[in-house]
């Protein structure tokens, strides 16, 4: 597990404390009951703070699972390095 993924697991665990590490890796809006709009706002505020990024509002709709968010962050880091 690389650093980006490990930090994201920590973010998910903070917002969804009942999920096990394995559950976090599989988490999505469809299989996590607690993932409502407030949890979303909290999760993305935390991700922005943790990774020092700002997530565009348009991108939010796409980020419906741990996997997609991780992919977004990896892509963002690549983009950040190019800047």
């Amino acid at each position: 597990m690389d650093d980006t993924q490990a930090r994201l697991v920590r973010c998910f665990s903070a917002v969804f404390p009942s999920l096990s590490r394995e559950d976090v890796l599989q988490a999505s809006t469809t299989n996590v009951k607690a993932w409502d709009s407030v949890a979303s706002v909290t999760l993305f505020a935390m991700i922005e703070e943790e990774y020092g990024i700002e997530v565009d509002v348009e991108d939010l709709a796409e980020m419906v699972s741990f996997e997609r968010i991780l992919a977004y962050l990896r892509k963002s880091n690549v983009r950040k390095e190019k800047q």
Binding site: R10, C11, A14, V15, P17, V38, V41, T42, A45, M46, E48, E49, E50, G52, I53, E54, V55, D56, V57, D59, S76, R79, K80, Q83
Partner: protein
């Protein structure tokens, strides 16, 4: 995607110094992780009414985490309100009986046109109307706060977000609209701060923690109705939590003299060679003296510990241009022995715990020597060559010693300790016995049993007294008020004076009366009042006034309450235990001569 990455820790470091700033701002992930820790199953709730016109979202998370840290044995419970309805929310919580009410106001609460969500006109003709609304809202708010603070302590943060460009002037020119609006808010904060039980967040301290340009998060306001950037929300929560439960102020400061209270080494440059002025580039020592003098005027004990010959120190302290007069220093320990020994003697003279004391010296070696002998003393380096750091030290000292109000007792504390010391020295040198002194001291004990209005000094005594303290229990303002207001609670506050001067209000007793028994849950007495048999007299008064046969003590042994343990052992004839009882018969059978005339306070 933009990279923001703005962090405020470094900014905070500049003002606070490395000792206190590193962990000042909490991150959201840290706050959530704190909230995962479950309080004990039997934890009482700590209720907070949270009033705002916006969705308090992450602020609520930060505040709850701070409360968990402050009260690990309590379960925080936040009572929120409705979005966009600060006025309704204020009314709804007015009757609540929470531990504290926290109010966040922003400009949009005075008129929706001042917020980004309200799309009402900013035309020149609208400005007068906005100001008119703000005036009206301000009066309404003050009225609500005056009602609210009768039930619970209130902590308020007045507008922190930048004012939208409502007025027609260019941004670098202050418009009369902006100034007038700020004057309304400023006048409102002043009036609110004057209400008892209300604390207003210091905007200047918030500026240091949270730069104004980074506060407003437009996206968050539009998406979720939460207008604060996370660092800003964290900073407000930090300051509000401190206002909810301020740390106990320190009681005494021990200062070094050479290169600290003044610039120069007395033994090298002589009495006239030490300085604290601009001409000799030693002005910051004068600034330090001024603060120490101001602290002493608020009842903080100030002593000196110096490695010097006594005579030369006496001579230097007699200089008339000292801003910290000799009379404000007690005691002065000037000799060549270790400073840790000076500190021991000063602590003995003051009769306070070492954890209530700060020691300041320009030498790291002296600080280390004192710290090794007195680990609980807070040791601070005087940064003699760094005026900026000395300026920072002044703020730190205000934080360590600051208090919400200065009481009558604060102004007489130093003198009463000095008199006590003189008396002890006279007894030690054989000039009369303790009884002789008490007999001729013309002592008066004034007792007050009034619960309304509740004397604020009583809670102060309860929360700061360690040695003569029945069980070490502390109270918040709200819990104290609730406890005292119960109909079966008996309450006694004792003030003492003798021919040498007043000691002020020095003892508090509180408990429950059930039939012919009092269950005493709280008993504290200032250490300045020891050795006068006031404690014997207080017990006698309890038996007589309430006509009870027995007093039960909610006693708990603490690491610091040896004086009350010894007293209870004396009257009980055995070591005190939890819920130990003393019968009236037992107490009266072994009478102790007391020498005070007892008076009842005018307010009952």
């Amino acid at each position: 995607m933009k990279v923001s990455g703005t962090r405020l820790r470094s900014t905070a470091m500049l003002r606070y110094g490395p000792e206190s700033s590193a962990d000042l701002l909490m991150k959201l992930i840290e706050a959530l992780e704190i909230l995962r820790t479950e309080p004990p199953a039997d934890a009482r709730t700590f209720q907070v009414c949270l009033v705002s016109g916006f969705n308090p979202l992450h602020f609520q998370t930060f505040l709850t985490a701070r409360i968990c840290q402050m009260f690990p044995k309590r379960r925080p419970e936040i009572i929120g309100g409705l979005y966009g309805d600060i006025w309704g929310n204020l009314k709804r919580v007015a009757e609540a009986n929470a531990d504290v009410c926290v109010v966040l106001m922003e400009f949009a609460d005075f008129d929706p046109r001042l917020g980004i969500r309200g799309l009402g006109s900013w035309g020149p003709e609208a400005l007068t109307d906005i100001l008119h609304n703000a005036e009206m809202r301000s009066e309404q708010f003050l009225e609500a706060i005056r009602t609210l603070c009768k039930n619970m302590p209130v902590v308020i943060s007045f507008p922190t977000l930048p004012l939208q460009p409502v007025s027609f002037t260019q941004g670098w020119q202050a418009s009369s609209f902006d100034l007038e609006l700020r004057a309304i808010v400023s006048s409102l904060s002043l009036e609110a701060s004057r209400c008892s039980n209300v604390r207003v967040i210091n905007p200047e301290r918030l500026d240091q923690l949270s730069p104004p340009t980074n506060r407003f998060n437009v996206k968050s306001e539009l998406v979720s109705g939460f207008p604060y950037g996370l660092p800003h929300a964290s900073a407000i929560a930090e300051l509000m939590s401190r206002a909810i439960q301020p740390p106990m102020p320190k009681k005494g400061l021990i200062t070094d003299l050479d290169d600290t209270l003044w610039s120069g080494i007395l033994g090298e440059v002589g009495v006239d060679g030490v300085s604290w002025d601009l001409d000799r580039r030693s002005h910051m020592h004068g600034v330090y003296q001024r603060l120490l003098h101001a602290l002493s005027e608020t009842g903080i004990l100030i002593a000196a510990a110096s490695k010097n010959a006594t005579e030369i120190v006496d001579e230097a302290l007699a200089r008339e241009d000292l801003l910290m007069p000799r009379s404000a220093l007690f005691p002065v320990e000037a000799h060549w022995g270790p400073k840790s020994q000076s500190v021991s003697r000063i602590l003995e003279a003051w009769n306070i715990g070492s954890d209530s004391v700060v020691f300041i010296d320009d030498s790291p070696m002296e600080l280390a020597e004192v710290k090794a002998a007195h680990p609980e003393v807070e040791c601070i380096l005087f940064p003699k060559d760094d005026p900026q750091a000395i300026d920072g030290l002044l703020y730190r000292l205000r934080d360590l010693f600051g208090k919400a109000a200065v009481s009558e007792e604060d102004s007489i504390r130093r003198e009463s300790i000095r008199r006590l010391r003189v008396r002890e020295e006279q007894i030690e040198s054989g000039q009369g016995t303790a009884d002789d002194f008490l007999r001729q001291s013309e002592a008066e004990l004034t007792l007050s049993f009034s619960k309304d209005p509740l004397e604020p000094r009583a809670l102060e005594l309860v929360n700061k007294t360690n040695q003569f303290n029945l069980n070490g229990k502390r109270y918040t303002e709200a819990s104290w008020q609730k406890y005292i207001n119960q109909t079966d609670t008996v309450f006694m506050l004792a003030a003492y004076r003798d021919k040498y001067g007043p000691l002020g209000k020095i003892a508090v007793l509180a408990g429950r009366k059930m039939h012919r028994e009092i269950s005493l849950t709280m008993w504290v007495m200032s250490c300045r009042a020891f050795s006068r048999r006031i404690e014997h007299r207080c017990l006698r008064e309890l038996f007589e006034r309430y006509d009870v046969d027995q007093i039960e003590f909610d006693f708990q042994c603490t690491s610091k309450n040896r004086p009350i343990q010894d007293f209870l052992a004396e009257v009980l004839g055995e070591s005190p235990t939890s819920q130990c009882k003393l019968s009236r018969k037992q107490f009266m059978e072994r009478p102790t001569e007391t020498f005070q005339r007892v008076l009842q306070a005018a307010n009952g």
